[in-house]
């Protein structure tokens, strides 16, 4: 059981909730390594993937997670939904509520929309990414991966590099890192910074090289040209030279430091191919953890406890 009905902002979780999700995900990760990857725990529960913005990776991860827990998972995608025909989000919420769904995973390009859904339906809500705001399960799977590779979370220095302003990944990861006692540093030019990164609890560095030797984790964000207003940096070439992860930078980091990326990667922009394919890049571990962490979040939100996860 979690102390919250919804996971909309990562701050909805207490530290205890957060650690419970990570610990429960450990058990589910073991299930995911079996030949028969299915548990009966959420049989009869209905989970809706309400994806109002195109997504393949995250939606698939949630979908697999729901199936492995034997829930009935329904995809309500933007292209197939009424929302493109002009139905309001409130009406969509009330419609889904009338169908007695237990849990709704929502992704939408508008910040705050999961909060709206929660106000208009009885189901539990997991925010699968809302605009530039938050993407809490991404932060949870990132913490899971850090703990798995580095053995602990407290005291880690994590540099998050790139388009912080438009990144919902950073929006959740920064406060999550603060909760577990890690030290987040957001790195990038001021054109890619939110107005007040300090209030999220992050230190700020405009250069990568200055802080590189301190980092236990270099977390490279995808450069989202489609979200940028105007021209936030002169060229991809200059961006890559100043803020891209490459072998020279990797060798300037601590020997056991790791490189993370939420995907999809722009090889040659924020991360070189050599680094992406190196054993110190844990990108696929993150994807793998994603299924287990989402299973844990669904399971615990729908009332499961830690003992049932081991079944």
């Amino acid at each position: 059981m979690l102390s919250t009905r919804h996971i909309i902002d990562v701050e909805d979780l207490t530290l205890e909730d957060l650690m419970q999700i990570l610990d429960t995900a450990e058990s589910f990760k073991e299930v995911n390594e079996r030949r028969i990857k299915k548990l009966p725990t959420l049989r009869g529960r209905t989970i809706v993937n309400l994806f109002l913005e195109p997504s393949t990776r995250t939606r698939t991860s949630f979908e697999i997670a729901a199936k492995r827990l034997s829930a009935d998972g329904i995809n309500f995608a933007a292209s197939a939904s009424a929302t493109v025909k002009g139905e309001s989000l409130v009406d969509t919420a009330e419609t889904l509520s009338a169908m007695a769904c237990d849990l709704v995973i929502v992704r939408h390009k508008y910040a705050g929309s999961p909060r709206m859904l929660a106000e208009h339906m009885d189901a539990h809500i997991i925010n699968g990414g809302d605009g530039m705001h938050q993407h809490p399960t991404q932060a949870l799977l990132d913490l899971f991966t850090m703990r798995e590779r580095l053995g602990h979370l407290e005291g880690l220095t994590v540099g998050i590099v790139g388009d912080i302003a438009h990144s919902r990944v950073a929006g959740s990861l920064v406060p999550a890192l603060r909760m577990v006692g890690a030290r987040p540093i957001v790195i990038g030019p001021p054109t890619l910074m939110p107005a007040r990164p300090d209030i999220l609890g992050a230190e700020v560095s405009y250069t990568l090289d200055d802080v590189l030797p301190e980092l236990d984790v270099a977390y490279m964000l995808r450069i989202q040209m489609e979200r940028a207003e105007g021209q936030p940096f002169p060229s991809v070439r200059e961006y890559s030279r100043l803020w891209g992860m490459n072998e020279a930078r990797l060798s300037a980091m601590k020997p056991d430091a790791i490189v993370m990326h939420p995907g999809p990667m722009n090889r040659g922009v924020e991360i070189s191919s050599a680094v992406a394919d190196s054993p110190r890049a844990v990108v696929l571990d993150q994807v793998n953890a994603g299924v287990a962490v989402r299973m844990a979040a669904m399971y615990l939100l729908l009332g499961g406890d830690a003992s049932g996860a081991a079944a």
Binding site: D9, L89, Y110, M116, M132, A195, R196, P197
Partner: protein, 429 residues
């Protein structure tokens, strides 16, 4: 018919009046002001413990008619105005069709004459279709009753166009009312850029987007000599710019809204309540303090509502999709009394200056005083009346108030427009 306002505290700083006395109204005019007046056959309105002042004016109302009658129309909007204590309102031109030519002004004047509870002064568009390109037919609109010109809702982006607009307005000594927003800086901003834009993941609308436009428009007013009125000033920088411009003699006036005075960006966290989405956005605590300082030192000329009604289904959208604006006509006076008069920041004379004389002077409207012979546009205020801001409280068609749920103390009990009661015992007549 005659009407006697008996025993109120009669306040009109424009003629140095502040004393308990009676006001006798006859044939639409103030017949006599003095102690122990009597008039046979006059309707008596007991005003003991009440404040009697020149009729309040809102220089910034969106009446929505024609085109958006589902949000508001002349009848409902002027009922809301009377309910809020206003005897006159200035209607912004962003209707459909836009009020950018004489016939559109005439429509509004005629509609107000038929259905209006209070006086309606049309503000015509500065540019055709509010497009910021071609100067609208100001002369024609003035002839039909327009009082000023504005592209409110959008700033005129091109400085050369603004210069020509202001130059042309000088032909008529007309006031240009500016919505100060530099779109290149504001972009798709929906909340103040800073703490709340960062926390909520919403695009920021930086103070500089207003300050730059205010500075530009003051400079162009200085260049052209045009009368400039700045709508809904929301930043400390704007207030300082106006203060300095006035000190060097520029013909500039400005207004602030109750929502910028009494709310700040923190209202938005964490629920993304679209009733707090306005343009310009709610700013910081420091900006609020600067606006209040502007009220007391004379930098600010008017408190104006920017009454912006929207239907419930329009506001019940994702924050970034919902329209900007809050209603304001019915809460402005109660908010000012509760937050500024009851706390001794403003006197009743200040209220008369900021909500009656100041707005009239800013837009060059016909003066109204409580002197004998003046037109009897009068607001009577009950400072002890309790206001629960609930949907049922509103005469407006729309309930998108940023102050829903508030309990306020003090509201208008009577409103006289040309000697006729539009509000009696707090109820629209």
């Amino acid at each position: 018919m005659a009407l006697l306002l008996r025993g109120g505290r009669v306040v009109d700083p424009s003629i140095g009046l502040d004393e308990v006395c009676d006001v006798l109204v006859k044939d639409g005019l103030i017949a006599e002001v003095g102690k122990d007046l009597s008039a046979s056959g006059a309707t008596v309105v007991e005003c003991a413990e009440k404040i009697v002042m020149p009729g309040l004016v809102d220089v910034h109302t969106h009446l929505r008619e024609p085109g958006y009658e589902y949000k508001e129309d002349v009848e409902s909007g002027t009922r809301a105005a009377a309910h809020g204590g206003f005897t006159a309102i200035c209607a912004m031109p962003n209707t459909d069709p836009v009020c950018d030519e004489g016939s559109a002004v005439r429509f509004l004047v005629e509609r107000a004459a038929e259905r209006g509870k209070v006086r309606v002064y049309p503000i015509g568009a500065l540019t055709v279709g509010l497009q910021g390109e071609s100067i609208a037919e100001m002369g024609d609109m003035l002839a039909e009753g327009a009082v000023a010109f504005s592209d409110d809702g959008r700033g005129v982006q091109d400085s050369g166009t603004m210069r020509r607009v202001m130059d042309y307005a000088r032909t008529f000594d007309a006031t240009v009312v500016c919505h100060c927003e530099d779109e290149a800086l504001v972009g798709k901003g929906v909340v103040n850029e800073g703490v709340v834009s960062t926390r909520l993941g919403l695009t920021g609308w930086p103070f500089a987007g207003e300050d730059v436009a205010v500075a530009r428009d003051i400079a162009i007013a200085e260049l052209t000599g045009c009368r400039l009125h700045l709508a809904h000033v929301s930043t400390a920088g704007s207030i300082q710019a106006v203060r300095e411009a006035k000190a060097r003699g520029v013909a500039v006036t400005c207004e602030v809204t109750p929502h910028h005075l009494f709310l700040d960006e923190d209202a938005l966290t964490p629920f993304y309540d679209t009733n707090f989405k306005m343009n310009p956005p709610l700013r910081t605590v420091a900006d609020r303090a600067a606006l209040v300082a502007g009220l007391t030192d004379g930098t600010v000329d008017a408190i104006a509502t920017d009454h912006a009604p929207h239907a419930a289904h329009e506001k019940a959208l994702e924050f970034e999709l919902a329209p900007f604006g809050t209603t304001g006509l019915e809460t402005a006076l109660p908010l000012v009394i509760t937050n500024l008069v009851a706390t001794d920041v403003l006197s009743w004379s200040d209220v008369a200056r900021l909500m009656a004389a100041g707005p009239r002077a800013a837009l060059n409207l016909p003066p109204v005083t409580l002197a004998e012979g003046s037109v009897a546009d009068i607001t009577v205020i009950d400072p002890e009346a309790r206001v629960e801001v609930t949907p049922a409280f509103f005469e407006s068609k729309s309930g998108n108030s940023a102050f829903l749920g508030a309990t306020l103390l003090g509201k208008a009990s009577e409103v006289l427009v040309g000697g006729t009661l539009a509000l009696r015992n707090g109820k629209v007549v």
